[in-house]
Symmetry: C2
Subunit: 412 residues, 2 copies
């Protein structure tokens, strides 16, 4: 952040018509080497003091986590009449609605471009660029770590754990990878996108979340054979049952642009009634992209360019009516480990029929009499509840020796 | 436009905190059926009168062409203190700098999101979303008609003229297709992107422009074999010799995302020093996408969200220093029709050597002794001036029976 402000000083002064000046800093450890000098900046041991420093117009919160010091700082800053720029997706996903209400009632900006998809200006695109549209759906690759792992697994044929370790060594994954690989980080971002897309309150709790730990090379290989790529997507959609928010691995057809977004890149697709389909792609994390997004928010604030936090006034955000996941409709990929013996297919087909699920294709690539071999079933569109019932019935068959693996197919 | 304003009335009122109301209209033919009622709207035979109508805060210019009534209307509107929203790329490409200066000196907004890449909010992305970056290059597929024609030629193997006729029947190309297929429309858009990217005055005159009329199925087939796709790109880049603005057919590697943007879709890639590479994709034309962009500009104006027209104050736009095309450096694809006889390759190789051009590969797929067969040469990076010299020398060879066809290779 400081590096960017220093490098672009003259450009930013031109854009803003005034200088963006860092006047005060607060952090846990004053002595840590940050690669930039903090000379001449006021130091506050307590960030709350910083927020009430008279020289401060805008507070940048880069602490992280949904509660604790980050939340206290943002609340105090807003209450003290300071604008706030944050990259904190957890904070906005958990407390976005109330913070927005407070900020708007006081007349300060709460900006969070960096919280979703890093350097991609997707918050601005949804809130301003597509403001003339009713959006029907927004979906995307929202976590670079997962996309890197899935890309590397596909390219090398290696197992999840193996690729994760490598990603940790390369710095693409945290020592505790749970937030990323279990889908929580993507779900934070999705909850924010939902409010921007549909003008509803932020409701992280109702996001259906599944991670990528159970994705195995055999599924990636089958996906390839079937013309799909496996991606961890976050999707939000307005349906007849309410708003469906879900984060889970998906099989996406190879002829969709998002199938080709690889490695640590993020991409978001937004579909509006007048603009049709638009897609935004770039780096979803990292020092440079994050600084780019944070400072873009700063420039908006410096120019007095304000907009309701989520595109419509926070007081008008409607409560989100969640669509139950059991009512989700879609196609499914199911992989079974099955003893290669006569009659098994008949039992599987019967389970599908009993739950009214229509089979699209069935694949068995290996033969090994009386040993376990992978069998793949894909279905036509059906309801999630029926699919869950089917999986239970199939899982209970004697010849099925491992829990069935299900991956949703998204025909985007 | 009127349809959108009607359909989204309540959403837009929420976003703007007030109603966006159409109060007056001017057009050539009052009686034409526009599919919407003009009842209750003031009618002006002369658009200039409309601009000075006291009820009018914002004038939408949807007339088109760089001069004539469109220019008069926009000038009068600005002079009368009205904000202006336009979709007119020719107007901004030819007169953008002076109009921006005038608008900023009077304190009104001149907005033109719809002028570049239709529904994709790329003007906003460059001017605001990436405001913290020094951009090094911006390039994209800026003309949907050309992209449709090139996609269809590749898919069907048909000739340019044939596919153009079909595109005209389908309404994807105008009766007079020159603006599209000769690259002028893309060049208008590129000139605008250049100013947004580099903070310089708009300089349409110095854009190097080539269209797609000479692209033939044999080149498309060779591109495929070599791992490329042929796209009409507009590229603007800051180089040591100045700013390079060019619109011409390119061979782009199949592993770049832009290679997979097909049919009428547009896409723009922007590379910044902090954000790295970002890409924006969507429909570049059509009633819905255009209305989406125009109304997004209206919402910005209604909220008082202002920004310098090209991202920095118009008075500070520096004159564009054009890089001579002869200094362009890149790789080249050259296709020759050559009499299949001994010694020809030696002559071609000598011409390359004499101009210091290093050959990467040479391909001859057919044999037909003493008849003309296609031969393809690709080069390593070289200077355009050397390449032009090489092409002249090769074209003068007796065994080369047609003018050489050159397509630049872009390793993006």
């Amino acid at each position: 952040m400081l590096k960017l402000l220093d490098a672009q000083r003259s450009l930013l002064t031109q854009r803003c018509g005034r200088e963006l000046r860092v006047v005060a800093v607060s952090a846990r450890d004053r002595k840590r080497d940050r690669g930039v000098s903090l000379d001449g900046l006021a130091w506050h041991n307590d960030p709350i003091d910083l927020a009430s420093n008279d020289d401060v117009d805008v507070v940048l919160e880069l602490i992280g986590r949904s509660d604790g010091p980050a939340k206290s700082l943002v609340e105090s800053a807003i209450n003290a009449g300071r604008h706030v720029v944050t990259a904190n997706k957890a904070l906005i996903a958990h407390h976005g609605t109330e913070l927005a209400k407070r900020a708007e009632s006081i007349g300060v900006t709460l900006a969070f471009e960096a919280a979703v998809a890093g350097g991609i200006p997707i918050v601005k695109a949804l809130r301003e660029g597509l403001s003339a549209n009713q959006l029907s759906t927004v979906y995307g690759i929202l976590n670079g770590t997962c996309n890197y792992i899935l890309s590397a697994m596909r390219e090398t044929g290696r197992e999840f754990d193996d690729v994760l370790s490598e990603a940790q060594e390369l710095g693409y994954a945290e020592a505790d990878p749970a937030f990323d690989v279990d889908g929580v980080d993507a779900a934070h971002k999705l909850a924010i996108l939902t409010s921007l897309a549909f003008g509803c309150s932020v409701d992280f709790e109702t996001v259906h979340v599944e991670g990528i730990r159970h994705i195995s090379p055999v599924d990636i290989q089958f996906a390839d054979e079937l013309g799909y790529r496996i991606k961890l997507l976050g999707l939000t959609r307005s349906t007849e049952h309410g708003i469906e928010q879900r984060v889970h691995p998906c099989m996406v057809p190879l002829d969709t642009p998002i199938a080709h977004v690889e490695d640590v890149f993020n991409a978001v697709v937004a579909e509006g009634d007048f603009v049709d389909t638009t897609m935004y792609q770039g780096r979803g994390a990292g020092e440079g992209p994050t600084a780019s997004a944070v400072v873009a928010d700063l420039v908006d604030i410096a120019l007095g360019r304000t907009v309701p936090t989520f595109g419509v006034p926070a007081e008008k955000l409607v409560p989100l009516k969640p669509a139950p996941m059991s009512r989700h409709r879609g196609s499914y990929y199911v992989r079974l480990m099955v003893l290669d013996q006569p009659g098994v297919f008949a039992d599987i087909a019967a389970a599908l029929r009993d739950h009214n699920v229509s089979m699209e294709a069935v694949l068995q690539r290996q033969r090994a009499p009386d040993e376990a071999v992978p069998v793949v079933v894909t279905t036509h569109e059906t309801e999630e509840a029926s699919m869950i019932g089917t999986l239970e019935a199939i899982g209970a068959l004697e010849a099925v020796v491992e829990p069935p693996r299900m991956i949703r197919i998204e025909r985007l």
